[in-house]
């Protein structure tokens, strides 16, 4: 687990740092996608979650879901291309659970990647996570979670 400026960033996940999104590769090769704790802190309390439909194919860096808070609305972008396998009904019922538990119960979509080997090389994982997010927080002028 990396912790940068008070934000938890598990280093076993794969991140698109610019888009502030994480992916967990499951044992069956599918992916679980979510927002980072940093993204949650920037957004504030999330009040709306509108994912794309199960079965829809999503290009890399295109939106898998739209989230709204009282002060912000924006997309959560797919770190790699793939087909949406599942959306999170519990999050739909209680969007604030994204903030409360961003890396577990607050997951956003499950994805079947179409080109994991080719596209995952651009994601950050392991020991590079903390350095990459520290640089982003510096660039963003982010005070901390």
């Amino acid at each position: 687990m990396a912790t940068v400026r008070g934000c938890n960033l598990p280093d076993d996940l794969f991140y698109n740092v610019d888009n502030n999104v994480w992916a967990r590769r499951e044992g069956d090769g599918t992916l679980t996608i979510g927002m980072t704790a940093y993204a949650c802190s920037l957004a504030g309390e999330i009040v709306s979650y509108t994912p794309k439909k199960v079965g829809k194919s999503i290009d890399q860096n295109k939106s898998v879901t739209t989230v709204e808070s009282g002060k912000w609305v924006g997309p959560v972008k797919a770190p790699v291309a793939g087909e949406i396998l599942a959306i999170n009904d519990a999050v739909a019922a209680k969007p604030g659970s994204i903030n409360a538990d961003p890396y577990a119960s607050g997951w956003l979509v499950k994805l079947k990647p179409s080109n994991w080997e080719g596209e995952s090389a651009g994601l950050v994982t392991g020991g590079a996570v903390a350095t990459a997010f520290e640089a982003k927080m510096n660039a963003d002028g982010f005070g901390g979670c």
Partner: protein
């Protein structure tokens, strides 16, 4: 929303014609917010500032205007929309009447456009919204 809470549609192109301005500040935030949502859903969104809406593209106006007391400034709404991917056009024919020079235009504006551009956007888009 009803039972279904997921998004089931193909991406669209949307043009938002922004005619409201400082005299109706309460009408000036929502168009940018809905633009942000549409862009976040991967729609191709353009906002065209015309009539009194052109004033929102003048430096010093949107940053001193709120739709609600104590709320975010209109410039913040514009910037959020820009980050979400919304493109901004300013109506060139409206500029002289509102005393807007090119140097007065906020940097968020992508293009100063003639009325023919607005006509083209309207004719080619899937949805046109007027505020």
């Amino acid at each position: 929303m009803g039972e279904e809470h997921y998004l089931d549609n193909d991406e669209k192109s949307v043009v938002i014609v922004m005619t409201s301005g400082p005299s109706t500040a309460h009408r000036c935030a929502t168009p940018f917010y809905i633009g942000s949502i549409l862009a976040s859903m991967d729609s191709d969104v353009s906002v065209f500032f015309t009539m009194e809406g052109a004033l929102l593209a003048k430096k010093g106006v949107a940053d001193n205007l709120t739709a609600m007391k104590g709320g975010k400034t209109i410039l913040e709404f514009i910037r959020d929309a820009k980050i979400a991917g919304v493109k901004f056009h300013l109506c060139k024919p409206a500029m002289p009447g509102y005393e807007i020079e090119v140097d007065d235009v906020i940097p968020e504006i992508n293009e100063i456009s003639n009325a023919s551009k607005l006509a083209d956007l309207i004719l080619s888009c899937d949805k046109a919204l007027f505020f």
